[in-house]
């Protein structure tokens, strides 16, 4: 990853890690769903699309995505200059990094417990 993208991913990641809670549900499968659900809709919103939410859970992801997209636009004005393809690529890289920190590279030994 080139330095600029890496730096931008870290800025976006840092915001999530400091301000959000949704990425830290207590089981790996849940974190994976949360990360995908919220970041997926965040990318859509940043690209001007209207996410469709069929279930109440989707709608809940959408709520967090709306707040995140708004904060990203306000705090990181450079995001408004990017093309839709660039935004999608950036959020994809962010998603991978977030999955690593909260799931695949996490040292939390409770992530794989069978029950809640």
């Amino acid at each position: 990853m080139e330095d600029l993208t890496k730096d931008r991913v870290e800025q976006l990641l840092n915001y999530i890690m400091k301000k959000c809670l949704w990425q830290f549900n207590s089981r790996a499968w849940d974190r994976r769903k949360q990360n995908a659900g919220i970041l997926g809709q965040t990318a859509q919103l940043l690209c001007g699309e209207t996410p469709v939410h069929e279930t109440a859970n989707d709608k809940c992801y959408w709520v967090d995505a709306v707040l995140l997209a708004r904060e990203y636009r306000a705090r990181f004005p450079w995001i408004n200059e990017l093309s839709h393809d660039e935004i999608k690529a950036l959020i994809k890289a962010l998603h991978e990094r977030l999955d690593f920190l909260t799931i695949d590279g996490s040292l939390n030994e409770e992530l794989t417990v069978q029950h809640y």
Binding site: K18, N25, A56, V63, D64, L107
Partner: protein, 523 residues
């Protein structure tokens, strides 16, 4: 993030896995303290037992209920004076504590008859109360008392009462957290779905993981009422027993303390399709974001925005008065579980404090992930510390104030550091916009109390000044502030009431007519 070894715990090598320092450029994949494990023999920690977590944290804040401990009377220690979860029914659940007072002879011959006698006596003594929770303790669990059977017998004899049995004796987990888990699951298994509520709004929530410490729940309820949201139940502060039996009918679970109550939210999501929305009720920005999210979910964000604008305009100048005087003050944020992440970043951003350490007594690794992410570089994160480690950390980090429980708080005081009660609060509520200013005020009062000028002198060796005159907090805090800050016409000290809760209870709210039958949430 290097693991940190305390001098005091060199003889307990496993302890090294329980503390880390957040290093520059490092992240959660480098190190994470262990958590939610049995306390290591030799380490005298500050945890509660699983019975305590079930009863004293989660069960007892329910307000219209007789709460009985089935066991020796000592198990009920944490009741009157250590808990501050008030309620709007004259604090019934705080004023009256019930225990079956199991003695040696009951251990030998069985304590079931004693339990039954106690249940009847309690219902007879308080005929207006028809709901009861019963808690298993170590002694009665070990002798095999069948509380369920007794509860069933009583419910048959008294058809107008309902009883909940919580089987979480002290040994049922490494700490109080085991009890949180057990009572969450027991409640949804036994009671949720057994009452059908009247739905009066298009927007219906359960407010979960909120214990009404000095009125926190009532502050948040005020916001929800102003938004026209029906709060079906609060799990459990100021919550009613029957309200909590109707949790299955909410459209959204708003979760505050995920540490103690995520289990029931996760189960409600799996069994009834009700989504879980985690929020932060502390601090202006996190609270505003939380209200916005709830507003967005229901399509009433404008109602949230109106509250945010009004409250921020009113209270921000007061918060900023304290921020100017708290800048750079060093804090050890040492609560029980969730406040380490609820508070870590926001007291730095909104009050100017510097968090030099976070710890948790009963948190899991997930809580440490949240807390470490939110605190700044250089902070020392400790899981389940013992008293000597706490003292060593105080010596090493030299905090100006410590936020912790009352027992470790007394230890901090002896080390010459003021403390604020992070569980029961000093002069709460601390939630809401006004509450956050009250917290800043309490921090200011603790740090700048002129008493420390004298109490921290050692009369056996220090020279005692006899020429010091009268001092006030303001004389101490404003001595080094630039005049434009001291004389700022906008900033001002907290001017709210001693107790803001009675006014909230007397308030009336606009009626938002219900539009149509509310949709039932589906997975």
């Amino acid at each position: 993030m290097p693991y940190h070894e305390f001098e005091a715990s060199k003889c307990i090598p496993e302890r090294k896995q329980h503390a880390v320092i957040k290093g520059p450029g490092e992240d959660l994949s480098h190190a994470l303290p262990k958590g939610y494990l049995n306390t290591i023999p030799g380490s005298i920690s500050e945890r509660g037992c699983a019975y305590c977590g079930a009863k004293h944290v989660i069960g007892t804040p329910m307000k219209d209920v007789i709460h009985i401990s089935h066991g020796p009377v000592g198990c009920t220690y944490d009741t009157w004076q250590t808990k501050r979860y008030i309620s709007d029914n004259n604090n019934f659940q705080l004023k009256y504590t019930f225990a079956t007072d199991v003695k040696e002879k009951h251990i030998v011959f069985g304590a079931e008859p004693l339990l039954k006698k106690n249940i009847h006596e309690a219902f007879d003594a308080f005929p207006e109360i028809k709901r009861m929770t019963i808690y298993q303790t170590c002694a009665t669990a070990l002798i095999g008392d069948d509380i369920d059977a007794i509860a069933q017998e009583v419910m048959e004899e008294r058809p107008d009462v309902d009883i909940f049995v919580c089987n979480s004796p002290g040994f049922a987990g490494p700490s109080q957290s085991g009890g949180h888990h057990k009572i969450n699951i027991a409640w949804i298994n036994q009671k949720v779905g057994t009452v059908e509520p009247e739905i009066t709004s298009d927007y219906v929530i359960n407010y979960v993981g909120e214990y009404n410490i000095q009125g926190d729940q009532e502050v948040m309820l005020d916001f929800f009422n102003r938004m026209g949201i029906q709060v079906l139940s609060t799990f459990t502060g100021n919550g009613s027993y029957d309200g909590l039996r109707a949790m299955h009918r909410a459209h959204l679970n708003v979760l505050e303390c995920a540490r103690s109550a995520e289990y029931i939210c996760d189960e409600l999501r799996a069994r009834y399709g009700i989504p879980r929305l985690d929020i932060d009720g502390f601090g202006f920005e996190p609270l505003s974001g939380s209200l916005r999210k709830i507003g967005l979910f229901f399509g009433i964000e404008d109602r949230a925005e109106a509250i945010i604008a009004e409250e921020t305009a009113k209270w921000k100048p007061q918060l900023d008065w304290y921020k100017e005087r708290l800048k750079g003050k060093r804090v050890c944020l040492w609560p029980g579980g969730s406040k380490l992440w609820h508070w870590a970043h926001v007291i730095e951003e909104e009050m100017g404090l510097k968090v030099v350490s976070v710890y948790t007594k009963f948190g899991h690794q997930g809580d440490m992930e949240k807390g470490i992410s939110r605190c700044s570089e250089g902070a020392l994160a400790i899981d389940d510390p013992n008293e000597l480690e706490g003292l060593e950390a105080i010596e090493m980090l030299k905090p100006d104030v410590i936020f912790t429980g009352k027992r470790p708080g007394e230890v901090a005081k002896k080390a010459g550091v003021p403390y604020l009660n992070a569980h029961g609060y000093h002069n709460g509520p601390y939630k809401g916009y006004e509450g956050w200013v009250r917290f800043a005020r309490d921090i200011y009062n603790a740090i700048y109390s002129p008493m420390h000028q004298l109490s921290n002198l050692d009369i056996s060796k220090d020279e005692i000044p006899t020429d010091n005159g009268f001092l006030t907090r303001k004389m101490l805090s404003d001595a080094t502030l630039p005049p434009e800050v001291v004389n700022d016409p906008i900033l001002k000290q907290y001017d709210g009431k001693l107790d803001p809760i009675p006014d909230l209870r007397a308030k009336t709210y606009p009626v938002f007519p219900k539009k149509e039958p509310a949709p039932v949430a589906a997975e």
